[in-house]
Symmetry: C2
Subunit: 297 residues, 2 copies
């Protein structure tokens, strides 16, 4: 059994960090991730530099990353201008976000959910015209900081609309880290009823449920899981809280469960140390501190 | 659906902390836990004070804890002398440990596994003679820091021997925090084949798998789960590593999964703050930092 890990540290991990990381350090971080076996990496986002200053060097990062056969770099894109930049910068794949609730969509993206789906469709068409696969990430699929509970049917309906608009993959994101494995079950059931597209999951460990959710998602047939080396990446809605699940801890749990990720754990810990040094923080990831327990089933 | 949470913060949580916590603070911590709904609390251990200085005030703690109908206090006991002290101090239940591997058993308890089972049988007989239920905790059930992998058959055989010796409950402990949900599955299968006793689990979150294991254990019919308010409790074999899963984070995940624990989450966070202040540490628990997301299924 195997699952694909999408490394999101360089994008989602860094984007909310106030300490600006140099382009050279980002490239070194990405290079170390590739050396550790990462094969899909969300390398940067093409958003307005004033909105996310940490991503202002998107083109320079893409210019410097190692081009290794089999390694696919993903760029996050929020509009037509971003897509243009991403294509020019040579991304291999595009990720675009729609949010599951009206309030969050308006606050986060300044548009209604229906407008966000139309925006996704435009990005998707442009990416396809240039031969790039597009992922639709559905934010707040597990709960909304403004509206509370999110129905699985609403998420499935959005997934269907994104599939119709050309998505090659549906990513369900627990943006605020509130979900539990039972939520994974009901979302997989609901989304599977409307599309056969590969499912990817994006979990935050904000309330210590992220790894349980990830392992459940694999059991339920997820094709890919997002994680960030070191577990970097906070949540802007809960500033003191932990964000992304950590790649090394996830890969440990998978390996012990008999699920191959293709990653070298020591290599991921080494990559995480680069960004730990740059940010001057203590990483939320635990494996680097605890040490490995070898073997898997 | 419901599960019993055994609060182990006052014993397993504190015992490896170098900062000695005053008896008054321990009693306040336990009182706050009772107020938060805790109904089974491992309050202290009756071991030689030179071996575990933090537990030197076992009698004084037991003397000061609130005696509330329905609240059961557990004392950890390692030998006949400890049992005598525990009974005199008025514990409601007794917990005694055997370890699943020879090397760990000799290093931790200074005796072979067979000798540890005989010791357990003697403690069990003494406790029964005084009308107290005894739990057999099987340490290192998920992996050993010295011998590596631990076979489910070996754990089951130990469980059978402890059941024959009068255990009223079997607790399977992931002492070094290496297990994954698939390990929970194979251990439940193996132990269920030899005894129908209630199963309790003790998980450490050393490598970020503890909560996934706990939720799986509940799905597999566990009667009780250990956790510590605030997530206090390191592992002496990995000094920088996280120990026990946190009561508030566990109770959050359970409630969102539709499993009642009887605990008030805010109350547990309040109790954890007492010990955070006393120890002067940042708690591993996340819920207090992230805030609750209300509701459950």
């Amino acid at each position: 059994m195997s699952v694909e890990i999408v490394e999101v540290g360089p994008r989602d991990g860094l984007q909310n960090e106030r300490t600006l990381v140099s382009t050279a350090a980002k490239i070194a971080y990405i290079g170390a991730l590739v050396a550790a076996g990462a094969r899909r990496i969300e390398a940067t986002s093409f958003v307005h530099p004033q909105r996310v200053p940490q991503m202002a060097d998107a083109e320079a990062v893409m210019d410097g990353v190692p081009r290794v056969p089999g390694v696919s770099y993903i760029g996050l894109v929020v509009n037509a201008r971003g897509l243009e930049r991403a294509l020019a910068a040579g991304v291999d794949e595009v990720n675009a976000v729609v949010v599951a609730t009206e309030t969050f969509s308006r606050r986060n993206q300044g548009m209604s959910v229906a407008e966000a789906v139309r925006s996704f469709a435009a990005i998707s068409a442009g990416a396809h015209a240039n031969g790039r696969r597009v992922t639709a990430t559905i934010g707040a699929s597990f709960g909304c900081p403004f509206e509370g509970e999110v129905g699985a049917d609403a998420v499935a309906e959005l997934a269907r609309q994104c599939a119709d608009a050309g998505a090659g993959e549906i990513a369900l994101a627990d943006t605020i880290g509130v979900g539990v494995p039972a939520d994974v079950d009901r979302l997989v059931d609901a989304v599977r009823a409307v599309t056969g597209l590969p499912l990817r999951f994006h979990f935050h460990n904000t309330r210590n449920t992220g790894y349980a959710n990830a392992l459940r998602a694999v059991e339920r047939g997820a094709a890919a899981l997002d994680s960030s080396a070191g577990g970097i990446g906070g949540c802007p809605f809960a500033p003191a809280a932990t964000g992304n699940i950590a790649t090394e801890d996830l890969a440990y749990g998978l390996r012990r469960s008999g699920v191959a990720s293709g990653l070298d754990l020591d290599g991921v810990v080494t990559a995480a140390a680069i960004v730990e040094r740059e940010l001057g923080i203590t990483l939320p990831a635990l494996l680097g501190r605890a040490g490995d327990f070898p073997g898997g089933r």
